[in-house]
């Protein structure tokens, strides 16, 4: 009997989850946030349904504060034409002028991401939304199911999750309810990079080190991506060789100093790294167990 290698086993499990979602739900969607996990998801989506086109669209909830290189990358994916890419912006939030610079990470994330996502899911009537969250990212995610039930208000209740046995997923829902599906649940950050290298999956260039204009703020290196960024007193823009381990809204995502400009170097750097992936994410530092609360309210 031959056993699959570690990455082959993870890939097969993810493909199984994609197929189960497509078969069991009336209107599934894949959430596309343009990061490395999204790139891996898209690759798996194409593999799962080959030679057919992926039977679901991608949805990007645009906060209007993504790095410009991310938006360019997204538009390139859309131009390839084998998947439909839907973009949703919370217009109401935009009108209110919600900005991570003035309103802070909590309000910005709540309005532009969480509320924006709920609007989009309701607008298109999606009953299953596939996302790239991994259980190794954060403690409350470690308890999340692969098929994670949401009530009609998109709420997650950690105490009433459906037991999930084998690969037999309960996909039954009532009208108006939905599930979030996480095919990368069992992947780690290292698995993701090794898979990207093995499969030669394109990712946003921001993951590779390069001299970039940054400002040191609250202990993080924030990249100045456009002229909406305003300097505080005493701050100066410097060119530093940096890269990103994770990508979100540019004012909320810290860069790390690095010279890793190839996949091999990134993987070596990670192997030696002594800090966690999300340390640069401001939204994780909004208070202890803040992710758990955000998730209950419908955050991905």
């Amino acid at each position: 009997m031959s056993f699959l290698s570690h990455l082959d086993a993870l890939e097969a499990e993810s493909i199984h989850i994609f197929r189960e979602t497509a078969a069991a739900f009336g209107r599934p969607v894949m959430l596309y946030s343009i990061g490395k996990d999204s790139s891996v998801l898209l690759h798996l989506l194409r593999k799962a349904f080959y030679p057919a086109r992926p039977p679901m669209p991608l949805l990007h909830v645009d906060t209007t504060w993504k790095f410009r290189e991310m938006i360019a990358f997204r538009d390139q994916v859309a131009a390839e034409g084998d998947v439909e890419v839907l973009v949703h912006i919370n217009e109401e939030g935009l009108r209110q002028g919600i900005s991570p610079l003035t309103h802070g990470s909590a309000v910005h994330t709540d309005v532009m991401k969480t509320a924006g996502l709920k609007q989009a899911l309701d607008k298109y009537g999606f009953d299953a939304a596939i996302g790239g969250a991994r259980r190794d990212e954060e403690k409350s995610r470690a308890k999340e199911r692969v098929f994670s039930f949401r009530n009609a208000q998109h709420r997650w209740d950690p105490k009433h999750q459906r037991p999930e046995l084998w690969h037999t997923y309960n996909t039954q829902i009532h009208q108006g309810e939905s599930v979030r599906v996480f095919p990368l649940s069992n992947w780690t950050e290292m698995d993701v990079w090794q898979y990207i290298r093995r499969e030669a999956i394109p990712v946003v260039p921001l993951y590779f080190a390069k001299p970039r204009p940054v400002v040191e703020r609250d202990g993080a290196l924030i990249m100045v991506d456009d002229d909406r960024f305003t300097l505080r007193e005493g701050e100066a823009v410097q060119m530093r060789e940096v890269r990103f381990r994770t990508l979100g809204c540019y004012p909320l995502t810290g860069a790390v100093e690095s010279s890793a400009d190839t996949l091999d170097k990134i993987i070596d750097e990670m192997a030696a790294s002594r800090s966690s992936e999300r340390q640069g994410r401001m939204i994780d530092h909004d208070g202890s167990a803040s992710m758990e609360r955000k998730k209950q309210e419908g955050y991905f």
């Binding site: 009997m1 570690h6 493909i15 308890k143 105490k159």
Partner: protein, 629 residues
């Protein structure tokens, strides 16, 4: 820092071991796992700093010691209560292997979570507190592991420092555990003494217990057998029919047993249609063969009917097919499992209707004693007979977890309320065949000049069901219809004489009435059924026995106050006096229909007027085929 030599870049080609940790509350499970993560260098500096900070905050008396349990207890409620509530999954690797560990809670009320963690695991790490020895929880966890098919156990006898590192204490516990494991059919047991907080025998061998010469926990995990083998015959449940255009028709799924090659003859089950494998398609190119665990797309050499839920199997050695089984069921629902209630059963990629027909016994999970049972409560395990409405291809769970393991889903709430492990098909499933008869329902209805129907009257005791149905039947009879009335009370004098009024008995009562009504409709009659039928679930089961449009649910809606005021049989008075238990509306619930074909609000109307509404609805539904009228 005592980290091991890890070279993570080598892990891409290593194999994955999924295991679980279990043990009773406070035996140091979370600490052991946290320590394992720490020893393998899996705790990044920022998390380590947070750990040191949190440890100081919680343990003012030992400010410098790290509380490794804080690495794994993540939910707010868990931190507050200092316990693990739900299964948490952790990921780590050593130079030799990648691991996924399901960290399972110890409390009895979370037995279902443990089973969940065990379902995908190939090995269990069982923790035992050296001061306490083998506890009922140890027995329960080991039983659940055995039930879920785990055949390798590593026993860590923890807190050896608190028993002065005594070998005799360790040896006695190891001996007792081995006896338990042998009883439960667990083939491989390895015991080791450990101290989780200081890492003795966790990530490295301890020099403080020279009398133990075996490997440390990490070494054992690195050398253990990986994924549980699923059986050697080729099996693949069809997940998705891939049809991009008229020229391609492929069947996508994950191989759950054995191996298949291009040219092999296969059979599509349960219909048993044969074909040969033409291509094994993947996005990375066609494969010459595929084996267990691979997600592939198969094309066949001829056009046969294949849909999601079918199983493609080796034609020479197909899977057994049946619709009645013996199985172990672990109940996970807050409401009890009631025999004869219909649930969804999902096995592989197929979902069917299922009923537990008999609970042969339940198992005391602490002692493994077999006890009589009429229902299963949360976290109880029962050995049951199960009846499906469709035959399925299956394997016994011991041979194949995918085709032998199922979940039960509540048809109203959609909650996952149970899981089960198939044992074998009941012989009667193979021996009782459906006898084909030449005359059918249509022929019998036609000879009576009518369309057969089931009018199902539901409502509280005293609501007026029988009174109205009686008037309806008289009217239909006068119009020339062939009818029969099945009254719940009357049936309890004969067919249902053996049944009481507990929820279990009510489920069975309604099932029998529905079956009799079904036979009478098959005979071409218009059948009027009057039973309280308090549960939506059973009314839905009854509806499912009939063809579209044949079943007319009539909700006789009279308020409890009104029924109690009328009290035609004096039952409410007795129920209120506590002389009758399980009385609907008093100490037993009535679940009102949500989508009845006819909703009769009885207040202010005479029975004759209500009966006329029913007759109109019935005749309207039959269109112009009214006989004799």
């Amino acid at each position: 820092m005592a980290t091991l030599d890890i070279t993570p870049t080598s892990q891409a080609s290593t194999q994955l071991l999924r295991f679980i940790t279990c043990g009773s509350v406070d035996d140091g499970k979370s600490t052991l796992l946290g320590r394992l993560l720490y020893d393998t260098g899996m705790v990044p500096d920022d998390q380590l700093a947070a750990l040191a900070r949190d440890s100081r905050k919680l343990h003012a008396d030992t400010p410098d010691a790290l509380d490794f349990s804080l690495l794994t207890d993540g939910l707010d409620a868990e931190r507050q209560q200092g316990i693990t509530i739900d299964v948490a999954y952790r990921y780590f690797h050593s130079a030799r292997r990648s691991f996924i560990v399901a960290d399972c809670p110890g409390h009895e009320q979370y037995t279902r979570n443990m089973a969940t963690g065990a379902s995908n695991a190939g090995l269990a790490v069982v923790l035992i507190d050296a001061r306490k020895g083998v506890l009922p929880q140890t027995r329960r966890h080991t039983y659940i592991c055995a039930l879920m098919g785990i055949r390798q156990v590593v026993v860590a006898v923890n807190k050896m420092d608190l028993v002065d590192w005594r070998e005799d204490i360790y040896a006695a516990i190891a001996h007792e555990y081995r006896e338990l494991a042998a009883q439960l059919g667990i083939a491989q047991v390895h015991c080791l003494p450990a101290v989780a907080p200081s890492g003795d025998n966790v990530g490295r061998r301890s020099d403080r217990m020279g009398w133990y010469e075996g490997p440390c926990l990490l070494e054992l995990l690195e050398s253990a057998d990986t994924a549980p083998a699923q059986g050697t015959e080729f099996r693949m449940p069809v997940q998705w029919v891939n049809r991009p255009d008229a020229s391609f028709r492929g069947y996508a799924g994950t191989v759950c047993g054995g191996r298949v090659a291009v040219g092999d003859e296969v059979v599509v089950q349960p219909a048993m249609r044969r074909a040969r494998i033409e291509r094994i398609v993947t996005a990375d190119g066609d494969l010459p063969h595929a084996s267990e665990g691979q997600a592939v797309t198969l094309t066949l050499d001829r056009e046969i009917d294949v849909s999601r839920g079918d199983v493609i199997a080796d034609a020479a050695r197909p899977a057994p097919v049946a619709d009645q089984f013996a199985a172990h069921v672990l109940w996970m629902g807050d409401e009890p499992l009631l025999p004869n209630r219909a649930y969804w059963l999902k096995i592989g990629t197929r979902t069917v209707n299922a009923r537990v027909t008999t609970i042969k016994h339940k198992v005391d999970v602490n002692t493994q004693a077999e006890l009589a049972a009429r229902r299963l409560e949360l976290n109880e395990v029962g050995y049951c007979n199960i009846d499906l409405d469709h035959a399925i291809a299956f394997e016994s769970y011991a041979d194949n977890r995918t085709l032998g393991g199922f979940v039960l889903i509540d048809r109203q709430t959609n909650a996952t309320v149970g899981c089960g492990m198939l044992d074998f098909a009941l012989r009667r499933a193979a021996n009782v065949h459906w006898q084909h008869t030449d005359l059918d329902k249509q022929a019998r209805s036609l000879s009576k000049g009518q369309q057969a129907r089931c009018l199902w009257f539901t409502g509280l005791s005293g609501a007026g069901k029988s009174t109205i149905a009686n008037l309806v039947e008289r009217r239909l009879h006068a119009l020339g219809y062939h009818t029969y009335m099945l009254d719940g009370d009357n049936l309890r004098h004969g067919l249902n004489k053996d049944l009481g009024f507990t929820p279990e008995a009510r489920v069975e009562n309604v099932r029998r009435v529905a079956e009799v009504a079904h036979l009478m409709v098959d005979a071409g009659l218009v059948v009027l059924v009057c039973v309280i039928s308090p549960f939506q679930s059973e009314r839905r089961f009854a509806r499912g026995r009939f063809d579209e449009g044949e079943f007319i649910e009539v909700f006789v809606d009279t308020t409890l106050e009104e029924c109690e005021r009328r009290d035609p049989k004096g039952l409410y008075r007795k129920a209120r006096a506590g002389e009758i238990l399980n009385f609907t509306g008093i100490d037993s619930p009535y679940e009102a229909p949500e989508q009845a074909e006819l909703h009769l609000r009885t207040s202010g109307l005479r029975p004759e007027q209500l009966a006329e509404q029913v007759v109109e609805q019935l005749l309207h539904g039959m269109g112009e085929d009214r006989p004799h009228a």
